[in-house]
Point group: C2
Chain length 479, copies 2
């Protein structure tokens, strides 16, 4: 019991210090280790396995929607980065520069890609000839580098892992449809695999991606009421095509510029999972991405037949395509309970001599510790139902929080009071003037998160200037 107590005690309570609670989970659940390069983390096996599961699900969705994977170089020559004006302004201040190869100074310095629009455009200009080649629907999984000042595991690090989709299309309509399609892929993944409700919307002009005509996003709400941007999808129009001279021969035999998109999610999603579902006992993982879905803990494992039965169940459930771990180590059952709660394993299966006698086992849900006594011959038919219940409960808890902490506000004074005292999202109307957006940020410390899809105006006055307003906006503090 000493070890168990120590293990549980070692997380800072969520109510006491949210930031510390978060970091504690990252370390105690063995997701990351710090490296000696400031702001660069190591993804340990358990943390990387979550990312691998995210990759598997999303990669299949990308392929289903017709995308192909490629690999671009990690370096971008300075002159290439500079070709699109807004893009270079947005990224140049935060890139890492390679100046030497071996002992020689490079003629032109190279940045380590912060994102790869420039590289894809250069490639498109080589391989695109005719409208028959379109669309080109590409994606790559890689890491990118942004020289951030303040860093935190998963949420903001100098190197992070992500995917970046890059597509070109014959018409603006097709490119816009792609932007929307991939935003919906992200929203669907967040809600149905990560059990994390999201708001879909468009970023304001001031907040869009450097070089984009429009940036769309899915925004989730964390335990502390702050917003986390869980994925973005950008529509570029033909701006990049023109800057990089990407052309094709169109149907009427004239030279045309294709229309472009890009879209990405990153290892930030692991941070989002922690801050959406975790509790004071540690991580709580959605079954779809959990490296271990069911941990088997034998009870009184020295008694005859217990370990054998546990191993039999491990084999059975593995064969039924669950990710299963049997912990037959000499640690106490209590220690194991705490350990796998810390690691967020969604279901614990306990099996002891009495259970075997009764032809049953005990399943315990990670989210609420609800127990299910399940007959062994009904285990495989009961498991999907229990997992569904668990998933629905995880989603509902997060949704309820999102709804309870979303405040619809029509008066500036109330807006300021809410921004100050009530962590969460504020829905308030906006006239569209960037000056009002900037002022809100200045006086309230919350910023526009997005212009949500499908939300009807609920007033007609700008929360800031009081003039006519037609745009509903979600405001909040953000990671």
């Amino acid at each position: 019991m000493a070890a168990e107590k120590k293990l549980v005690d070692s997380i800072t309570p969520i109510e006491e210090d949210f930031a510390k609670w978060y970091t504690d989970i990252c370390l105690k659940a063995e997701l990351v280790d710090y490296s000696s390069v400031k702001g660069c983390v190591i993804l340990r096996p358990y943390g990387y396995a979550i990312w691998e599961n995210i990759q598997k699900i999303l990669d299949a969705k990308f392929k289903e929607t017709g995308h192909e994977n490629v690999a671009m170089p990690m370096f971008i020559p300075e002159s290439l980065l500079q070709k699109e004006k807004d893009h270079v302004e947005g990224f140049a201040p935060e890139v890492a520069w390679v100046t030497h190869g071996g002992n020689e100074r490079l003629e032109e310095r190279l940045c380590v890609r912060p994102t790869s629009e420039t590289l894809f455009c250069e490639h498109f200009s080589h391989v695109l000839n005719s409208y028959r080649d379109l669309p080109m629907l590409y994606n790559q999984w890689c890491s990118v580098v942004r020289w951030e000042k303040t860093t935190r595991p998963f949420l903001r690090s100098r190197e992070f892992w992500w995917q970046e989709g890059h597509t070109i299309h014959e018409t603006a309509e097709e490119a816009k449809a792609e932007t929307e399609r991939m935003l919906n892929v992200y929203a669907d993944f967040a809600e149905n695999s990560l059990m994390m409700p999201v708001i879909r919307g468009r970023k304001t002009e001031s907040d869009k991606f450097a070089g984009a005509e429009a940036t769309y996003c899915v925004e989730a709400m964390m335990h502390d009421g702050k917003a986390l941007q869980a994925g973005t999808s950008h529509y570029f129009g033909d701006g990049f095509s023109r800057a990089f001279d990407v052309t094709f021969t169109g149907r009427e035999n004239t030279l045309q510029y294709p229309f472009q998109t890009s879209w990405g999610v990153s290892t930030r999603l692991v941070g989002a999972i922690i801050m959406t579902h975790g509790d004071n006992n540690g991580l709580i993982l959605p079954p779809a991405v959990s490296p271990i879905q069911i941990v088997i803990v034998p009870i009184a494992q020295h008694k005859e037949g217990v370990l054998e039965k546990a191993e039999e169940l491990r084999k059975q459930l593995t064969a039924a395509s669950y990710r299963v771990k049997l912990d037959a180590s000499e640690n106490s059952a209590g220690w194991k309970f705490a350990q796998y709660e810390m690691k967020g394993v969604p279901l614990r299966l306990e099996i002891g001599p009495k259970d075997i006698e009764n032809g049953q086992c005990v399943l315990v849900r990670r989210d609420n510790r609800q127990k299910y006594f399940v007959k062994l011959d009904e285990l495989e038919s009961e498991l999907p139902k229990i997992i569904k219940e668990l998933e629905a409960a995880m989603f509902e808890a997060a949704k309820q929080r999102l709804e309870e902490r979303t405040y619809t506000i029509t008066e500036l004074e109330e807006f300021l009071a809410t921004a100050k005292d009530k962590p969460g999202f504020i829905k308030a109307m906006w006239c569209g003037d960037p000056a009002c957006e900037a002022k809100i940020k200045e006086i309230s410390d919350v910023s526009s998160r997005c212009i949500p899809f499908g939300v009807e105006p609920f007033g007609d006055k700008c929360i800031c200037c009081g003039k006519e307003a037609k745009i509903p906006v979600y405001w909040g503090k953000a990671y």
Copy 2:
């Protein structure tokens, strides 16, 4: 027919200019594109898909043998790189250096990882405590950078994609067994998935990895008789552990240094596939890693029912887990034949009105254009047999070449003549003196490839100095 002719004509014949033939395939089969960073290539969808298939097969083998994936940062601080003397001497001259983050000069410059032993050692020193934590069996898939002067797609590029396994063990014996186990995983993969026979052996002292006690390798022979190192596995002893102060509390409660290994294969394997199997019509891909295993070409596709039947077959074979493409484009059948021969698709399925009438289709093997008339209701039972025959023929052709071009030589004069006139491997005895090894290289332009496993001495005199020799060595020119 014009397009078809042009397509085929556009590859340089293998007999005329092997290097150009190779590059032609890389480009015409749409495997790579050049980027504007010298020596860095882009892996296009078709090239990347081959690498993805290689990854899938190997990753499953790594996991079966107990390894877990992690992700390390791409940067190594200069001071960390310098901790192991031989290692830094080997790699420092060819690394890319990051000196600036945004507009600020870094206090310490960072190299882009050329390999990650130093990063793994630092991490091991953080997470290793007791012998109970051992072994730690890690792998990562990533790209690494080496600032090479002369570069060629897949074979030698400044950035390349690979996997690097890094493991630590309680005892030297366990680490040695791991080194051997992973070498065998590579050999098995090369021979049974890539259909590429390999020689397993140990590198000489002068040729081993910087910092290793021993380097093992699998060497394959290319079409032109040159050797290609297809994978390496290193045993480090406790040298890195001591340099990086990686310790654990042993069974007797004393502080000990673990024993270490690393092993890797890279996108070089794609180059090896091209140069092992390709011919004057283009690439020939082993079915296990081919992005398309069967291409369906409808014959007289404007005729009623042809496209419908072709689509029906596509669905059927896709459901049977083959990677299938139906090309229903308006290009001529002849153009399609040439196109998918260029791309190395192992099997072509032709289906036309007469075939449909006869309830059959025609399968054509890429390697020798052998035709099989197969009843449609026997297609699924025949395919595995035909694929097995194709694979066996690919392996046998490569094996025969390897054997025919391996010359066992006992006299220096004959060695020099063979090295000059007969591209291939030379088996010759060596006394073990590095001076002899260096001299051979100087006077013959061939170098030691490896000390093969399981080859009995076939003489007792050193090919160079004539003194007593116990070590059989494969010599050759290498990529």
